[in-house]
């Protein structure tokens, strides 16, 4: 291969470049269904600050995995990105990339880590051979160095690199596979890393280990990281900021401690109430009534959450709440809006 697109390989190999920022603007992803094209993600604005870990939580079907795939312009048919942009520093708008440009960006600039339980590795090849395929796909000249980097990364995550590279997928445990997935996402020095449910289907101890590794590697390598999960506890552990998704929208976004400590959106509040505490009465945990909307049951207008909301107002039936940014926190809720303005007014009186 002659292409020297990997110029930054030689240009700036070890200077820990500033982590890139990621700006998702007005992203809308639709899925083709017998009932027409329905939005799984609608009008999402989300900024990942450089060098931070952003967690995205939401129930199944809230559109969080679709959002994650959009960062690599990899929404699978019958899905289609209908509108919006995903700007990544140093790469431009990912959604305009096509063909070879897109392929090169994947893996090289944006790393993607799959859910552990599902198998993201070719069962018929050793990890080492798949690593070499990855290197050859991205025109890495020095494959020995690549193998060395991979071994370092694996050792960094507490594994015997040589042994792992010589193994097949079925010879590794779930936690080991997940670490291999992280290694493959990072070994080409990608600065933006997307982790889709990285700890789902792992036992508690392994979950904790993986989360610690994510946090440490993130800091060492100055990454910008997006963690998708339905586990609020996991996000609390690892993320700097937290975005809550519901029905294809980001309903609340802000620093993780503030969002969890002082939730403003009724859905976030319900989500937190539903978490069982380790101490105290189990019955204190209250499930959110109702069910999350599916693609087919999303209301055409008004607030997506109103059916399950205890603070529903008349305006919620007709107008979709706009995302309002106040002191570094974004909330899309009519009620939270009014509540806040009331509080503010009282302070001034």
């Amino acid at each position: 291969m002659t292409a020297h697109t990997a110029a930054h390989d030689t240009a700036a190999p070890e200077t820990p470049a500033a982590a890139p920022g990621v700006r998702i603007r007005d992203l809308t992803v639709v899925y083709k269904t017998p009932a027409g094209e329905l939005p799984a993600v609608r009008g999402v604005d989300l900024t990942l600050a450089p060098g931070t870990i952003t967690g995205v939580v939401g129930e199944s079907g809230s559109g969080k995995s679709t959002l994650a795939l959009s960062l690599l312009n990899a929404v699978q048919p019958p899905g289609r990105i209908a509108a919006g942009s995903v700007e990544i520093d140093g790469l431009g708008d990912v959604l305009t990339l096509r063909g070879e440009d897109l392929r090169r960006a994947r893996g090289r600039q944006v790393g993607y880590v799959f859910q552990a339980a599902q198998n993201s590795l070719n069962p018929l090849k050793t990890i080492g051979k798949q690593l070499l395929d990855l290197g050859r796909s991205h025109d890495v000249d020095d494959l020995r160095a690549l193998v060395r980097d991979a071994k370092d990364l694996l050792a960094r995550m507490g594994m015997d690199g040589a042994r792992v590279l010589d193994s097949y997928q079925h010879e590794l445990s779930g936690g080991m596979r997940q670490r291999v997935g992280i290694m493959l996402a990072l070994v080409l020095n990608a600065k933006v890393v997307v982790l889709d449910e990285p700890t789902t289907a792992l036992d508690m101890i392994t979950q904790a280990t993986i989360l610690r590794i994510i946090r440490e590697v993130h800091e060492e390598r100055a990454l910008t990281t997006l963690v998708i999960t339905h586990d609020v506890g996991a996000v609390a552990e690892v993320a700097d900021s937290l975005a809550v998704m519901y029905g294809g929208r980001v309903v609340e976004h802000g620093p993780v401690t503030e969002v969890l400590g002082d939730a403003r959106h009724p859905y976030t509040q319900g989500l937190i109430r539903a978490i069982p505490r380790l101490t105290g009465d189990l019955s204190l945990a209250r499930a959110l009534p109702g069910r999350p909307p599916t693609l087919g049951t999303l209301p055409g207008r008004g607030c997506v959450f109103r059916e399950r909301c205890e603070r529903r107002m008349e305006v919620c039936e007709t107008d979709e709440p706009m995302a309002v940014n106040r002191d570094g926190r974004t909330v899309a809720c009519h009620a939270a809006d009014r509540h806040l303005s009331l509080v503010k007014r009282k302070e001034f009186v």
Binding site: A74, A105, F114, N119, S120, L121, L134, S137, D166
Partner: protein, 344 residues
């Protein structure tokens, strides 16, 4: 990476496995041989005893008749079951399958050997050709499954899979040997050529083999394309294919990941159909008048040539047993999951 990791293809382990298979295979063959011995001996009318008696009627002395029958079947017509059985097994060990009745005096092994020549090559060619064609088209049918091309390919598979082989064969002869006679209608070779390594003879062989091979290919192509298509579709849904794309792997690598995983289960079927090949293809050999194993089996049945029948059955059994062993060992070599012996 020189670590001795469990799961490497170790020659010792494979050899041990092969040994185990061999023993089991021999047991299988012994069981089938025993069953065919019992059937031939116990079949209504007892052909062995019948032969013996008819020879006596023709004026042979009982001793002569006994010897002549023993030559035919490999065991004495009189005596108790056990003695006969030991005699039969003894001659089997010497690869002596007895002598044919319908072609008097000719050894069964000779007849089978001749017929095998006319079966193995055309059927092998047809099997491999249909496999390659079906697998390639199956990949296309899967990748283009939401388009016209995919629909057409899948339809061609379903249609050909549903049409019986003798219909395809008859259509072939009707079109290419009668309506538009560019192909010979039957027989394995033109008699005017001297058998040997000369252009005329070999050309004639190939010319005669075209229609049977094409018929066989069309008949088994449908199965391959349908199986391959569904395998590819299944693997396409696997996460590691999407993961490979999201890691930015080149299309060639992704395709190889896909193809290798999808084709794996088909190798077992391929190995087994190569084993079945020793049964010949009765319809094709009948239609094209090809003196292969299938025709030999039919002839032996219609002429009640029990020794030949038993021998043919035994050859088919051995072919299938060997193919099973080969398929299993092949799997051990190409699938690392089987190699390390049952992991999650």
């Amino acid at each position: 990476m020189t670590h001795a990791v469990p799961g490497r293809p170790r020659v010792g382990a494979i050899a041990r496995k092969a040994g185990g298979h061999l023993v089991r295979g021999l047991v299988m063959i012994w069981v089938v041989a025993t069953i065919s011995f019992v059937i031939i001996r116990e079949i209504p009318g007892n052909p062995v005893l019948g032969q013996y008696e008819s020879l006596i009627q023709k004026g042979m002395s009982p001793e002569q008749a006994e010897r002549a029958t023993a030559v035919l079947y490999g065991f004495l017509p009189t005596g108790n079951l056990w003695e006969q059985y030991v005699g039969y097994m003894g001659s089997l060990l010497h690869l002596d399958l007895g002598r044919s009745l319908s072609t008097p005096g000719v050894e069964v092994t000779t007849l089978i050997g001749h017929a095998a020549r006319w079966t193995v090559l055309p059927v092998l060619a047809g099997t491999l050709l249909s496999f390659l064609l079906g697998v390639t088209m199956g990949v296309y049918a899967a990748i283009k499954r939401s388009g016209k091309l995919g629909d057409m390919l899948a339809l061609s598979g379903s249609l050909l899979h549903g049409v019986p082989v003798y219909v395809i064969g008859l259509l072939m002869t009707a079109i290419f040997a009668t309506l538009w006679p560019i192909m010979p209608s039957g027989g394995p070779v033109d008699v005017e050529f001297v058998p040997g390594f000369n252009a005329g003879y070999i050309g004639s062989l190939i010319h005669h083999a075209v229609l049977p091979v094409v018929t066989y290919t069309l008949a088994s192509y449908g199965g391959w394309i349908l199986a391959m298509k569904s395998n590819v579709v299944a693997v396409l849904g696997d996460d590691f294919i999407l993961a490979a794309e999201l890691r930015g792997l080149k299309r060639g690598f992704v395709f190889r990941y896909l193809a290798r995983n999808a084709i794996l289960p088909l190798f077992t079927i391929l190995a087994l159909s190569i084993g079945m090949l020793f049964g010949g293809s009765i319809f094709i050999e009948q239609i094209f008048n090809y003196p292969g194993l299938g025709l030999l089996l039919v002839d032996s049945i219609s002429s009640r040539d029990y020794a030949l029948m038993g021998g043919t059955f035994l050859v088919i059994t051995v072919g299938i047993v060997v193919a099973n062993i080969v398929a299993d060992l092949l799997y051990t070599v190409i699938d690392p999951r089987v190699r390390s012996g049952g992991a999650a």
